[in-house]
Symmetry: C2
Subunit: 188 residues, 2 copies
């Protein structure tokens, strides 16, 4: 996107929240918008899956969904293209102070992430410990390393501190997570 | 996915529709399921974007959406990974007999497809002329070639016949569209 002279686009939400108060999803959405505008990557959040049972048509051009339920996602929430490669990740917040409960991620999503990596895609998790306002990126391989070797049903915060990468809150983009992923190809 | 001895999974819908009657979306969904099961590609349809205005919680575990509207998609409907590459496409049916009206595709989706190709992804359209039960794959480059050089607001069926590829209806997978895309990389 090109903006006319003198117009600067800001990637903050209309209301200023300061460093706290914005959800991880909001932070990622404006960061992805920034990446798209700067043409660094084309990444979107997928819509929430919904099963529709009833739709009203009050007029020819209007459709109102009157009965629908939330579905269980088969895949992770975010995907797109970065440096010519397929990129895919799941993002979750936890209020837990000591660990990230694996129950936060559906089994389907874990399988999906695993297959993406097998197919040569870039796959990872972004986890925020809201109590500390800490956001970590955990590479897929490190996530599966944990799952394969530990019987615990949650990943300790210390594991993120040791193996993950802390993503600082910035301005443009707000969460520069692409800087923290490992891309093993000739383009980097 | 591995199935126990003697159990054969079929990729047809429960009700037999014969060669006609299944929508393009249904054909693509079962074809993508086949590709995932055979591990050839990981491709999913994105959920329809919806803006939710009101949710009821009749019980602790139940959420019923009571007021929601359909949103306009920012991206194409299908994406995933194939031979290590990002793949992205839009699929549309038309009852029109002579041409495919471009009004069927949102401007956002056209821009999105263009950017995907610029970023090195595989991008294309799948268009079905339902009157003839003909399904064509049109490479992104050929789609943009048409848009850039023609002022017409619809793509003639003859253009699909000349430049596109006719995808026959098969059994497993039902629409073997991956066979018809051009992948210019070392993996092929």
């Amino acid at each position: 996107m090109k903006y006319p002279n003198g117009i600067k686009k800001t990637y903050e939400s209309k209301v200023s929240y300061g460093n706290r108060g914005m959800t991880l999803e909001e932070d990622l959405n404006i960061s992805n918008e920034y990446y798209r505008d700067t043409n660094e990557a084309i990444i979107y959040k997928k819509p929430t899956p919904i099963t529709i049972h009833k739709v009203d048509f009050p007029s020819r051009r209007e459709a109102i969904i009157r009965d629908a339920r939330f579905g269980i996602p088969s895949t992770t929430d975010y995907n797109g293209i970065y440096r010519g490669k397929y990129i895919d990740f799941e993002a979750k917040e936890t209020t837990n102070k000591t660990s990230f409960p694996l129950s936060n991620i559906h089994a389907h999503q874990i399988t999906h992430l695993c297959r993406i990596i097998e197919h040569g895609g870039i796959g990872f998790l972004i986890v925020r410990f809201t109590s500390f306002n800490e956001t970590y990126l955990l590479e897929g391989k490190d996530f599966f390393q944990f799952i394969d070797n530990e019987k615990r049903k949650s990943i300790p915060r210390t594991y993120f501190q040791k193996v993950g990468k802390l993503i600082p809150i910035g301005l443009r983009p707000r969460l520069d997570y692409l800087k923290y992923i490992e891309v093993n190809n000739e383009n980097k």
